[in-house]
């Protein structure tokens, strides 16, 4: 549908943040080509955010920023005693952790009123809607960096406090302990340290669960890319049994659980890179995600310049680093040591690289190529 420029202008005069403006803009959705799928936050599915208010937070005496202090379960134990004995004493002390707030913002979008007339799609409305998902992408990127830091910290502890490369060479030499990070079976037998992502096999998933289940915790949810998920569709009749194999061939894998645990799939392969599979406990054992201010949208017009911006104020933290484990399906090292100089393939891309586009229209690449004169 062609949208009269007059309508777009009208949207701005009525302020696009208003309900009326939104409804009008929605009528004209679908008249443009989308560049890529946009997905809501996977971090929010793993740690559901909790809304907090200023009253729940603590200030600093040194600066004007906020934290929320979270209590950690205190230690306790029981013991056997004789009829005459007495228990050992424990002076109770519970640990506390600070979860700090920060802001995630869209870009500050700017356009002159006159240039806006050149658009027949509700560009401002599209950007507004996409901004919410862009913000959630950054949430996911922060979350991924935090969980990666958590598994690497525990891995370092398990290796005597040293960062030891976890790659095919060291696994075969027996010189590294796999604790919070494990390699997939095919990566362990790769014969080379490389960035090739091997297919996900059923025993890999089981080993991942066992790495968490063996520590008085239980793996509850997996985080996996769509790319690695597709490997599950290749599992054989030995993995699935004939009934599931028949079903999967026709409908794909349609159950909510995989080997008894739930899963979160993501298409954001520039944030969660293929070959990385994480599993987590329930959020109660794991971390916190607080929202201080939900997404706010600001729009203003100074003379003929229109500007708008969206932002939110959140806090997220992995408080119990032992509540997350990682499976790597590639044979090279992904630790901070970067022993194989391939780490950039396994960690989230830079923040400013997330806005990359798929289409090549800017380079004139569309077919058939039509030239107007």
């Amino acid at each position: 549908m062609s949208v009269p420029a007059r309508v777009i202008n009208e949207l701005f005069t009525t302020k696009i943040a208003s309900a009326e403006g939104r409804e009008k803009a929605a009528e004209y959705g679908g008249s443009y080509i989308r560049d890529r799928l946009r997905e809501v936050s996977f971090a929010r599915k793993i740690i559901p955010p909790q809304q907090v208010t200023r009253a729940d937070c603590q200030r600093s005496v040194n600066h004007d920023t906020l934290v929320k202090i979270v209590d950690i379960e205190p230690k306790s134990r029981a013991m056997t005693l004789t009829f005459r004995g007495q228990p050992t004493a424990r002076f109770i002390r519970g640990e506390r952790a600070e979860v700090a707030f920060f802001t995630i913002s869209s870009e500050l979008f700017q356009k002159t009123e006159q240039e806006l007339l050149a658009y027949e799609m509700p560009i401002t409305k599209i950007i507004e809607e996409n901004s919410v998902k862009d913000i959630q992408e950054i949430e996911d990127r922060e979350f991924t960096l935090h969980i990666e830091a958590a598994v690497q910290a525990l891995q370092q502890e398990a290796n005597g406090g040293n960062v030891v490369a976890l790659n095919w060479s060291n696994i075969n030499a027996g010189s590294v302990v796999e604790f919070s990070v494990i390699k997939g079976e095919l990566a362990r037998n790769a014969g080379v340290n490389d960035a090739t992502v091997r297919p996900l096999q059923r025993p890999d998933i089981v080993r991942l669960y066992k790495s968490l289940d063996g520590n008085r915790m239980r793996a509850e949810v997996n985080l996996i890319t769509e790319v690695d998920w597709d490997d599950i569709l290749q599992w054989t009749v030995e993995d699935f049994g004939d009934r599931l194999q028949s079903e999967t061939t026709v409908d794909g894998y349609k159950y909510n659980l995989l080997l008894g645990r739930s899963y979160v799939r993501t298409i954001k392969t520039d944030i969660l890179r293929p070959g990385n599979v994480y599993c987590f406990t329930k959020p109660d054992f794991f971390g916190k995600f607080y929202v201080l201010n939900n997404t706010k949208f600001y729009i203003d017009k100074i003379a003929n310049n229109i500007m708008f911006q969206a932002w939110e104020d959140i806090a997220m933290a992995v408080i119990n680093i032992a509540a997350v484990r990682k499976l790597e399906l590639y044979s090279a090292d992904a630790s901070t040591l970067d022993a194989d100089s391939l780490r950039s393939n396994f960690v989230p891309v830079a923040e400013d690289a997330l806005g990359a586009v798929n289409n090549r229209v800017d380079q004139g690449l569309k077919f058939p190529q039509v030239v107007s004169y």
Binding site: H63, T65, E142, L145, E351
Partner: protein, 180 residues
């Protein structure tokens, strides 16, 4: 008169909206930790390295008075974050705000008015160099402001508008343009 470090060491005296702030990751994320030996304070002068990350403009392993090396010194800008801010520590890459572009006037405690001939008059030019300030009785080095003498070739990053002796110990300066 030697400067002192306080909780707030850098205060804008001009309109914040006339500046452009940028949050840029620290090259050494550990410097956001207020207990790190080399913690950063507001008003320290930083620059961006080849990886687009923040580093101190002047190398604090050098002696006091050592100017910020070129070409990074031309791009020096003040940190706009107090020591140990939660929002800096909260983000994974320790992105830290600095005043990236735009003219401003500010009061700073991150200066040494005794080096390089001393800051003695309004209108004198300023440059970035290693300075030493006593913190709890112990000398600590920062990347701060000193006088830029007329025959210096180091970039000018500001101009004195009020002397510390007449401004409660704080140096007021104006940064009219981004590149000195």
């Amino acid at each position: 008169m030697a400067s002192t470090i306080s909780k707030v060491n850098f205060e804008l005296q001009s309109d914040l909206m006339a500046t452009q702030r940028r949050d840029i990751p620290l090259a050494d994320p550990n410097l956001s930790n207020p207990f790190n030996a080399n913690y950063l304070v507001d008003g320290e002068w930083v620059t961006i390295n080849d990886d687009y990350k923040l580093v101190r403009a002047a190398d604090i392993t050098q002696a006091a008075g050592t100017p910020a090396p070129k070409p990074g010194a031309s791009n020096a800008m003040p940190l706009f974050a107090e020591k140990g801010r939660y929002d800096v520590q909260a983000n994974a890459e320790k992105k830290t705000p600095c005043i990236y572009m735009g003219p401003f006037e500010a009061d700073t405690r991150i200066y040494d008015d005794t080096l390089n001939g001393g800051i003695t008059a309004v209108g004198q030019n300023l440059k970035v160099a290693v300075i030493s300030i006593n913190v709890s009785g112990t000398p600590k080095k920062f990347s701060g402001l000193i006088r830029r003498a007329d025959n210096d070739t180091d970039p000018i990053v500001g101009v004195v508008t009020r002397l510390p002796a007449k401004n409660g110990g704080k140096l007021r300066f104006r940064k009219p343009i981004n590149i000195g």
